[in-house]
């Protein structure tokens, strides 16, 4: 299996690459993680992972300036239906628009806006930073075998904004933080996590392994 881990200058990829290799081991499959933004690599990949750390606008600009990258992603994911995973801002970029420091157009693969967290309890701090449990809103193969709910496993979050999908069908899981925080979104062969699976230990490796096994 060839996993393309998109490098567009938006953060370090080593943790994600390492976690994907560990997840690959768990599935018992052989394969490789290829870091880069080469359209040929994306075209021939079996799985595509888009990470992203930082501000929405900055990541969006970095993505746009890599020549041919967006067209290659669009062709592979939306054209050929290759399974795609967005992580953190890589997930937020799937939205129609990001509202962090002005309005920035996203990829528009999952209709919705990326808005600032507004916990109902004013005592709750923003950013939402640390370990939280997940609650499922729609079942999805990436959640298979993962203990959910208040007594379940934890995922590591580090963000001030989240993607609110239009309608509820594309929301897979939430975390509770003064109201629901979008934790996982998905549509067709596209899935995205607001938390960092590569930092989320047991839950993270399991989710990545599920993503690699997923055959939509």
């Amino acid at each position: 299996m060839r996993i393309a881990l998109i490098d567009y200058g938006a953060g370090n990829l080593h943790s994600a690459a390492k976690a994907l290799m560990r997840a690959l081991d768990e599935t018992g499959q052989r394969g490789e993680v290829i870091m880069g933004a080469d359209p040929d690599v994306i075209a021939s990949a079996d799985r595509i992972v888009l990470p992203g750390d930082g501000a929405f606008r900055d990541c969006r600009e970095n993505l746009a300036i890599v020549h041919g990258l967006e067209a290659a992603l669009d062709h592979a994911v939306r054209g050929k239906g290759r399974p795609f995973l967005g992580i953190c801002v890589g997930m937020q970029l799937l939205a129609t628009r990001g509202l962090e420091r002005g309005i920035t157009a996203g990829l528009g693969w999952i209709p919705g806006d990326v808005v600032r967290l507004a916990p109902a309890d004013p005592a709750l701090k923003v950013p939402h930073m640390g370990w939280n449990t997940l609650a499922m809103t729609s079942s999805h193969p990436v959640l298979e075998g993962i203990a959910l709910g208040p007594q379940g496993l934890h995922a590591y979050f580090l963000h001030s904004y989240h993607l609110i999908p239009e309608g509820t069908g594309n929301l897979i899981a939430t975390a509770a933080y003064g109201g629901p925080v979008s934790a996982i979104v998905g549509r067709d062969t596209v899935v995205g996590t607001q938390f960092h699976p590569e930092k989320s230990q047991v839950l993270g490796v399991k989710l990545l392994a599920n993503f690699l096994k997923w055959a939509p």
Binding site: G11, N12, H14, S15, K18, A19, D53, G54, A55, D58, V89, E100, R101, L124, K125, V126, P127, H128, M129, G130, W131, N132, T133, P150, L153, H154, Y156, F157, L158, H159, S160, A175, A176, Y177, H196, E198, K199, S200, Q201, V202, G204, V205
Partner: protein
């Protein structure tokens, strides 16, 4: 529910851990990556590296430590010490830091906080505040920011500064009481509470931890979202698991999955 965090902190000088951990058999006690892996396995919620190298010339050594840690650990890492400008922040982020902590540079010129947050997002920018109590007995409590390990007063009010950098885009405040640091007499709870109430971003309490109850107090009375400690963990006085279980028993929401001895 979001859990409270326990964060061990390692001092790094010229790429080596200064006070090495001695609760596990490490092949190389001075290797920061070995220590990071040990804390990762022990169930720490995050790790903090504080670079105390005097010169900026060997910055590559620290970047190498951060890179190797990111390759070997699945644990979130904050790196601080010697961050002078946005380029330093960028270099650490690209090496694999999840958050970068800015201290003296923010005291000198607050605008670095806004510039760094705009580039990397508020969630990645921590401002480290070292504060000392300067009010006398009977006066309204007042804390001032000190630099250079608590030697140099700045005249800047710590609470007002915390509010200001949070407004500029700091996503977290790492608050160290220079009065309590190294004393094992507990956090300065009044300081922690005052800063925590003044800002809408998470506060990490630091400086003075000697017992597990101190950790509980930092969160319950100080209002901190996370507690940071060094020596009690490095010297094996308490394990991360003991700390987190103690805090959970005291009624605090803690992440107990992945702890040693937990099924």
């Amino acid at each position: 529910m979001l859990k409270k965090r326990v964060i061990p902190c390692l001092d790094v000088k010229n790429g080596r851990v200064v006070k090495g951990i001695n609760f596990v058999d490490l092949a190389d006690v001075g290797d920061p990556v070995e220590s990071a892996k040990a804390y990762d396995a022990a169930g720490a919620d995050e790790l903090c590296f504080l670079d105390i190298t005097a010169s900026h010339e060997n910055r590559g050594t620290l970047l190498d430590v951060v890179r190797r840690t990111a390759e070997n650990c699945f644990m979130p890492v904050t790196v601080g010490g010697g961050v002078r400008d946005v380029e330093d922040v960028r270099a650490l982020m690209l090496a694999g830091a999840d958050k970068v902590s800015i201290n003296t540079a923010a005291v000198r010129d607050r605008s670095i906080v806004g510039r760094a947050a705009e580039k990397f997002g508020a969630q990645a920018i921590v401002v480290a505040i070292d504060a000392k109590k300067v009010s006398r007995e009977g006066e309204l409590p007042r804390w001032e920011i000190f630099t250079h390990g608590g030697r140099n007063p700045t005249g800047i009010d710590a609470i007002a500064f915390a509010r200001e950098v949070a407004d500029l885009g700091a996503g977290e405040i790492l608050l160290t009481s220079m009065d309590r640091d190294g004393t094992k007499s507990g956090f300065d709870l009044a300081l922690t509470r005052a800063v925590s109430d003044a800002v809408t971003v998470p506060v990490v309490a630091s400086g003075g931890v000697g017992t597990l109850d101190h950790l509980v107090e930092g969160i319950r009375e100080g209002g901190a979202s996370a507690v940071l400690a060094a020596s009690i963990f490095h010297y094996g006085t308490f394990s991360i698991a003991e700390a987190k279980r103690h805090m959970a028993r005291a009624g605090l929401p803690m992440r107990l999955d992945g702890l040693e001895g937990t099924p």
